[in-house]
């Protein structure tokens, strides 16, 4: 029985240092999360090295954090999503508690116009689940299959959501 050095070597070879800017962002983020998790009582001397270690050797440290995110637009976007989410919840609640409960369900296909990157499309697919009357059934190349509960002007609402996401990531309008 001897330790297979090559196995360990191959694992180490796949590891690479993320760019310093990403590293800084992630370390800050994970230190903040450590502070939140320990409810402010955790030691900084454990938290920051731990955050640095996780940022360095997280096994999947590729492409999880988009560098193009415009941070200053995030509060407005979150406000927009909260508004949509609450109105969606109210609509579902009204439909569920109405006497006849006749959901006019149908499916619809939505083509992306502005978002081309798969991760942005995935973000939109997740946010569609929170907007009133829509649910992502399937996502495949540049197309979103959407299940609709009963909402009449779904196309305008989805287009506004897409343009907001594009704005958040600084993508150009129109095609």
């Amino acid at each position: 029985m001897h330790l297979n050095i090559h196995g360990l070597h191959a694992v180490l070879q796949r590891w690479k240092v993320p760019p310093w800017r990403t590293l800084l962002w992630r370390t800050t983020l994970y230190s903040g999360l450590w502070w939140v998790l320990t409810e402010g009582t955790g030691s900084v001397w454990i938290g920051v090295p731990l955050a640095l270690a996780i940022a360095l050797c997280a096994p999947l440290n590729t492409n999880t954090w988009s560098a193009h995110l415009r941070w200053w637009k995030l509060p407005a976007f979150i406000g927009f999503m909260v508004k949509l989410s609450v109105s969606g919840a109210v609509e579902v609640a009204k439909l569920a508690l109405s006497r006849r409960c006749d959901a006019n369900t149908h499916t619809r296909v939505y083509y992306f116009r502005l978002l081309t990157c798969p991760s942005h499309q995935l973000l939109m697919a997740n946010l569609v689940n929170l907007t009133p009357g829509t649910l992502t059934l399937r996502i495949s190349d540049d197309t979103l299959y959407i299940h609709i509960l009963h909402h009449p002007q779904i196309a305008a609402q989805l287009r506004e959501l897409e343009s907001r996401i594009a704005e958040l990531y600084g993508l150009k309008h129109g095609r």
Partner: protein, 107 residues
């Protein structure tokens, strides 16, 4: 004192959403419509409960921890809804169609 009252009010406000989502879960016709009830109404109800607990929290970090829990729940439930609907579609449960399929709606 004001924080406690606000917290209790927010938690009470969340109850109608939970009741509505449970009623919807029982009354809606198929898997997809039930997912609508679960993702939307439940998330807002949970958000109200989390906010209600966060305003009563002792320190900022505890409040942020509760908000973090809400964020994780949002992420999990919206991803989970898409996973369940994709899986149901793949295993041959077509959604009920009331109207004709409008193939070119987004163009």
């Amino acid at each position: 004192m004001m924080g406690d009252l606000l917290g209790i009010a927010l938690i009470l406000l969340s109850l109608p959403f939970f009741i509505a989502s449970t009623v919807g879960l029982l009354r809606f016709p198929d898997v997809y419509a039930r997912l609508h009830a679960l993702t939307k109404a439940d998330n807002v109800g949970l958000g109200l409960i989390c906010l209600g607990l966060a305003v009563q929290a002792d320190s900022v970090a505890v409040g942020l921890k509760i908000v973090l829990i809400w964020g994780l729940l949002l992420l999990a439930s919206s991803t989970g809804a898409t996973l369940i609907s994709t899986s149901a579609l793949r295993h041959g449960h077509p959604p009920r169609q009331r109207n004709d399929v409008d193939k070119h709606a987004g163009r």
